[in-house]
């Protein structure tokens, strides 16, 4: 049994976890990139995510992240989602999660911090701020019709 374990988990081929990791990419389909410190790298399943990471998907891309408080966030194609702020205390469940959906589609399932403190998870869009009191939701931000295509 032990051997098969090592095999299965080796397949995940994840970078070593560090203290600043706040979650992991669990799903990556099609073109998915993570922008970190000005560089863009292809997102892979098992890759740790950090505060200030920006998830960018292409026309055929979608991706899902599990955060340390068990919040789940996914984005659909042509989406840009930034993790602006994230902290979670695994003892008290106190925390704060702020993300921005600049464009595209997002689905989320809130986790332990929202259960402890409603509205501790917030998603910004160009026009609004959404505070999460519980569980499952979807958001779409379409690109402005008349504006030049920027993010």
């Amino acid at each position: 049994m032990r051997k098969s374990w090592i095999l299965v988990l080796a397949l995940a081929a994840a970078a070593p976890a560090v203290a600043s990791d706040i979650g992991q990419v669990k799903v990556a389909k099609g073109a998915v990139q993570v922008e970190r410190e000005g560089k863009r790298v292809a997102a892979t399943v098992g890759m740790p995510v950090r505060t200030a990471d920006v998830l960018v998907t292409g026309a055929d891309g979608s991706a899902g992240i599990t955060f340390s408080d068990n919040s789940l966030v996914s984005v659909g194609p042509n989406s840009v989602f930034a993790i602006d702020k994230y902290r979670f205390d695994s003892t008290t469940h106190a925390g704060e999660f702020e993300g921005s959906l600049r464009k595209g589609k997002l689905a989320a399932v809130s986790g332990k911090m929202v259960k402890q403190t409603p509205e501790s998870m917030r998603i910004r869009t160009p026009s609004s701020v959404m505070a999460v009191r519980g569980t499952e939701l979807v958001v779409e931000v379409k690109e402005p019709a008349a504006a030049p295509a920027t993010r």
């Binding site: 609004s128 569980t135 499952e136 008349a146």
Partner: protein
């Protein structure tokens, strides 16, 4: 200055319709029921307006001119518009509860069986990671139990590493007496509360 810039953008876009500010794209927010039918709530604040969505498929639309208003989606619309996005949600974390033999470093026979289920669950997931969460009963103060529960979780974490789980895929946390399985008064011994939870995700 702002006017001039706006005029420039309009001219460049060849757009006839004058707008007072940068156009926004339409936005849509909706609450959807979870797999168990539970419906939560979100609050959408835009400019000076606020909308609380707390029914299944309750939605809020922000129009291109910035006006916000309530809406309702059908399950079909959610599937059509968000099907692929929802499909990309990671699998929900699975939770397992284990007990140690009283005063020993050894799991109870039932918990050893439960541990097998943990390994089976790990195999089902693409890049699994584990959190081992210790819990205590209410005997002793908060700080004491926080420490005790973390020590218990760390012990199980070590056991799982010995069984072949890479150490970087497994974390330990202590919840102390903050999350009782069986509600009791303070300072009450309760073996069912002295447990370790394994969350696989």
């Amino acid at each position: 200055m702002r006017l001039a810039a706006a005029a420039l953008v309009l001219a460049a876009a060849g757009c006839a319709e004058p707008v007072a500010r940068a156009p926004v794209g339409p936005e849509l927010f909706a609450v959807i029921p979870g797999p168990d039918g539970h419906v939560g709530a979100i609050v959408v604040r835009s400019g000076g307006t606020e909308g609380t969505l707390d029914r299944a498929y309750a939605a809020r639309r922000i129009a291109a001119d910035g006006t916000a208003g309530p809406a309702t989606l059908s399950p079909e619309e959610v599937r059509r518009e968000f099907g692929g996005t929802l499909e990309a949600l990671p699998g929900r974390p699975a939770s397992f509860t284990l007990y140690f033999l009283e005063g020993k470093d050894e799991l109870t026979p039932a918990s050893r069986v439960e541990l097998e289920k943990v390994f089976a669950e790990l195999k089902r997931r693409p890049a699994p990671d584990i959190v081992v969460i210790g819990h205590t009963d209410t005997v002793g103060n908060l700080a004491f139990n926080d420490k005790l529960s973390l020590a218990r979780a760390q012990r199980l974490r070590e056991m799982m590493i010995e069984l072949g789980i890479p150490s970087e895929r497994i974390q330990a946390a202590g919840r102390g007496k903050r999350e009782l399985l069986v509600a009791t008064d303070d300072n009450t011994p309760e073996p069912r509360n002295r447990r370790v939870e394994i969350s696989v995700r």
